[in-house]
C-alpha cells in the first residue's frame, strides 16, 4: 500500500513537470509570435500520431534508453558518469571491430557476428569506463573530470579509427559496416526501428532486477544515499565504485553498439561521428526525466524519442524551429528537479 502510494506520487509529479515544461515553452513560443497550439500539435503528431511515427519514435528511443540507464545506475550509486558519451563511442567501435572486422577476417565466426558485435561493444565500453573508475577509487580523482577528459580522448581516438584502420575502402567517409549477420532486423513500416529495441528493454529490466533484488544492487543504492553508512556497514567502497562504473560503461557501450547494429541504412559509423554524437548526453536527460529508475527510463526514452521525431514536423508546418524541442526538454527537466512541485501545487490549489 505504501509502495503504491509512492509510485503514484512520482508519476503525478512527472506529469505535472511535463505540463509545467510545456507551459513554459508555450510562453516562449508565443513571445516570438508563433502559435504554440499548432506547434505542439505537430510535435506530438509527428512523434506519436501515426503507426509509422510511433515505430520511428521507438527506433530513436532505443539507444537513449540504454545510455539513460547507464547514467542512472551510476547516479543511484552517487556518481556522475558523464562519460556515457565516450563509452558509447567506444561501444560503437567495438561493434564494428567484432561485428565487422572479425567476421570478415575469420568467416567461420560469421554466424555469431551479432553476439560478437554486442559483446564487443559492451567490452569496449566497459574498458573505457575502467580508467576513470580506477582513478576515482585509488587516487580520489573526481569522476566528472576524468570522464569529461576521456570523452574527448574517445572522440579523437574513434575518429582516427574510423578514418584509418577501420575505414570502408569503397566508401571512405564511413567505417566498415557490420556484416549482414550482425544486423538486427528492420521492423517493417519504419525507417529507423529494428528489433534492437528488444535488447534495450531487456537490459533495462535486467538492471531493474539487479538494483532491487540483488545484494550488489542494494549496496550500490546504499552507497548512493549515504556513503558513511555504507562504509560502516562493511561495504567495500572501492569495489562498488569500480563495479558501478564497469556496468555503466558496458551499458553505454551496448547503446553505441546498438546504433551500429540496429539502425539502417548504413550499419556503420560515419566519419563525422554524426550518428553517435550526443547519444550519451541525450541519455543523461532521459535518465533525469526518468528519475534514474530503469523502468521509468524506458518510458522517458520513448517520450524524448517522440519529441525528437516530432520536432521535424514542427518546423515546416508551424514555423517553430525544431531545436525548440530541445529547449522544451530542458524546461521539463528543470521542472522535474523540484521534488515537491505537486505538493506545493496542491497546497496552492487547496487555498
Amino acid at each position: 500500500m505504501q509502495k503504491f502510494n509512492l509510485d503514484v506520487r512520482g508519476v503525478a509529479e512527472t506529469l505535472i513537470a511535463l505540463l509545467a515544461g510545456l507551459l513554459a515553452s508555450s510562453i516562449l513560443i508565443l513571445s516570438y509570435g508563433y502559435d504554440p497550439i499548432k506547434a505542439f500539435y505537430w510535435l506530438f503528431y509527428g512523434g506519436f500520431g501515426s503507426l509509422e511515427s510511433i515505430l520511428d519514435t521507438l527506433g530513436y528511443a532505443t539507444p537513449l534508453m540504454l545510455t539513460g540507464i547507464a547514467f542512472g545506475l551510476c547516479f543511484k550509486g552517487g556518481m556522475f558518469n558523464v562519460g556515457v558519451e565516450g563509452q558509447a563511442y567506444m561501444g560503437a567501435i567495438g561493434a564494428i571491430i567484432f561485428g565487422g572486422l572479425v567476421p570478415r577476417l575469420l568467416p567461420f565466426l560469421s554466424p555469431f557476428s551479432l553476439i560478437l558485435a554486442l559483446a564487443g561493444s559492451m567490452l569496449l565500453g566497459l574498458a573505457w569506463a575502467l580508467p576513470p573508475a580506477l582513478l576515482k577509487a585509488y587516487r580520489g580523482v573526481h569522476e566528472v573530470i576524468s570522464t569529461i577528459m576521456f570523452n574527448w580522448i574517445a572522440y579523437n581516438f574513434v575518429m582516427f579509427l574510423v578514418r584509418g584502420p577501420l575505414v570502408n575502402p569503397s566508401r571512405p567517409e564511413m567505417s566498415l559496416p557490420v556484416v549482414e549477420n550482425a544486423r538486427f532486423s528492420v521492423v517493417p513500416g519504419s525507417a529507423v526501428l529494428t528489433t534492437a529495441i528488444l535488447a534495450s528493454i531487456f537490459s533495462a529490466v535486467l538492471i531493474h532486477l539487479l538494483l532491487t533484488l540483488t545484494r550488489l544492487g542494494f549496496e550500490i543504492r546504499i552507497t548512493g544515499s549515504n556513503i558513511d553508512a555504507a562504509k560502516y556497514s562493511g561495504i567495500n567502497y572501492k569495489n562498488i565504485v569500480i563495479t558501478s562504473f564497469l556496468l555503466s560503461g558496458a551499458l553505454s557501450g551496448l547503446a553505441g553498439g546498438l546504433v551500429i547494429t540496429g539502425r539502417p541504412p548504413v550499419w556503420a559509423l560515419y566519419g563525422t561521428l554524426g550518428n553517435i554524437m550526443n547519444v550519451g548526453f541525450d541519455g543523461m536527460g532521459v535518465a533525469l526525466i526518468g528519475r534514474n529508475h530503469p523502468l521509468a527510463t524506458i518510458l522517458s526514452g520513448i517520450f524524448i524519442g517522440g519529441l525528437w521525431n516530432g520536432s521535424r514536423l514542427m518546423e515546416p508546418y508551424s514555423g517553430v524551429s525544431s531545436e525548440l524541442s530541445r529547449a522544451i526538454i530542458g524546461l521539463i527537466v528543470i521542472a522535474l528537479s523540484i521534488p515537491e512541485l505537486s505538493k506545493r501545487l496542491s497546497r496552492i490549489l487547496q487555498g
Partner: protein
C-alpha cells in the same frame, strides 16, 4: 608543501617554453592564445567555485556560456555598445544563476538535475533565438561598431593580444580567494557549504547566501560567454561553447574549489590546446603523429596533472544538499 609544487610547476613550465622556442615556435604567441582561451573558462570556473563553496552545484555552465554569448550580442546591438553587451550577457547569466539558486534553496530542487536542464534548454533555446530574432539560423555576426576590441601590444617583433577581461579573470581569482579566506562574507559562504545549521543558528540566512553565490556564478559564466562572442570571435554561432563549460567544471573540481588553482587549470588547458594545434600545423611533427593524437594532448595533460599532483580533494559537506530550516 604547496609552495614546493608551485616552484616545480613554474620551472617545468619555463623549461617547456624554452623547448618551444628551440623548435621554432613562438612561446609568446602560445601564451597569449592560452590567456584568451583561459578567460571564458576561468570566469566560469571562479564563479562556480564560489557557488560550490556555499553548497550549490551548477553544472549548467556550458548552457550559460552559450546564452551569455548570444544575449551578449543581442544586448550589444540593442544598445549599440559592446560593453553594454558584455553587461547584458553577464546579467542574462546572473538571471539564470539566480533562478537556479532559488530552485536549489526554496525549491529544494535536485541541483544536478536542474542545472543539467539548463544546459539542455540552452542548446535548444540559442538556435531558436538566433532564428527568431535575426532570421539567421545558427550564426550571427554583429556589426563591427558594437564589438569590444582586443588589445594589441607590440613587443619588438611580436605583438601580444589580450583583453581587459583576461586581466579581470586573473584579478577575480585572487580577489575571490581573499574574499573566501579573509572576509566575513567568505566565512558565511564556506559555512553555508560545510555546516549550514551553524550559521543558521547564528542568524545568517543560508538561502540568501546560496542565492547570492548562484547569481554570481551565473553572472561570471555569462560574462565568459559574452567575451567569446563580443570580444574574441566577433560573432556567435549556435555551438560556440563547444563543451567548454564542462572543461570549466573540470577545472573547478580539479582545483578542489580553489579559485586561483582553478584559473591555473584553465590556463593549463588553454596552453596545451594552443600547443597541440600549433604542433598539428608544424611540418615536422605532422609526419610522425596522426593529428588525432595531437588533439588529445590538452585532455591528457589536464588529466595527468590532476591525477599526479592533486589527487583527492575534500568538498563541502553540504554540497548539493538543499538546506531545510528546522
Amino acid at each position: 608543501m604547496i609552495k614546493k609544487s608551485l616552484v616545480i610547476t613554474i620551472v617545468v613550465f619555463v623549461a617547456f617554453l624554452f623547448l618551444l622556442e628551440y623548435a621554432g615556435i613562438s612561446s609568446l604567441k602560445i601564451i597569449d592564445t592560452a590567456l584568451l582561451a583561459m578567460t571564458p573558462l576561468a570566469l566560469a570556473a571562479i564563479g562556480e567555485v564560489i557557488n560550490e563553496k556555499a553548497g550549490v552545484t551548477n553544472i549548467g555552465l556550458d548552457g550559460i556560456l552559450l546564452i551569455g554569448a548570444t544575449l551578449g550580442v543581442y544586448g550589444a546591438e540593442l544598445a549599440g555598445n559592446g560593453y553594454i553587451g558584455l553587461l547584458f550577457g553577464a546579467l542574462a547569466g546572473a538571471l539564470i544563476g539566480f533562478i537556479h539558486g532559488v530552485l536549489s534553496t526554496y525549491g529544494r530542487a535536485d541541483q544536478v538535475v536542474a542545472s543539467m536542464g539548463i544546459n539542455i534548454f540552452a542548446y535548444g533555446f540559442v538556435p531558436y533565438f538566433l532564428m527568431a530574432v535575426w532570421h539567421m539560423p545558427g550564426i550571427r555576426v554583429p556589426p563591427k561598431e558594437v564589438l569590444v576590441q582586443l588589445w594589441n601590444v607590440p613587443l619588438g617583433n611580436f605583438y601580444f593580444v589580450f583583453s581587459e577581461l583576461t586581466i579581470l579573470a586573473l584579478l577575480l581569482a585572487f580577489v575571490f580567494n581573499w574574499l573566501l579566506q579573509k572576509t566575513a562574507l567568505g566565512l558565511w559562504i564556506r559555512a553555508a557549504g560545510e555546516s549550514p545549521e551553524a550559521i543558521d543558528a547564528a542568524g545568517i540566512d543560508v538561502h540568501r547566501v546560496r542565492i547570492l553565490t548562484a547569481t554570481i556564478g551565473g553572472l561570471l559564466a555569462g560574462l565568459g560567454g559574452a567575451f567569446m562572442s563580443l570580444v574574441w570571435f566577433k560573432g556567435v554561432v549556435k555551438e560556440i561553447s563547444a563543451g567548454r563549460g564542462f572543461i570549466a567544471l573540470a577545472c573547478v573540481v580539479a582545483s578542489g574549489l580553489d579559485p586561483i588553482l582553478a584559473t591555473g587549470f584553465a590556463f593549463l588547458f588553454g596552453f596545451s590546446e594552443a600547443v597541440a594545434y600549433t604542433f598539428a600545423v608544424t611540418p615536422g611533427i605532422k609526419e610522425a603523429i596522426p593529428y588525432y593524437f595531437v588533439f588529445m594532448i590538452p585532455y591528457i595533460v589536464t588529466l595527468v596533472v590532476v591525477a599526479v599532483m592533486i589527487g583527492k580533494r575534500r568538498f563541502p559537506r553540504a554540497l548539493g544538499v538543499p538546506y531545510k530550516k528546522e
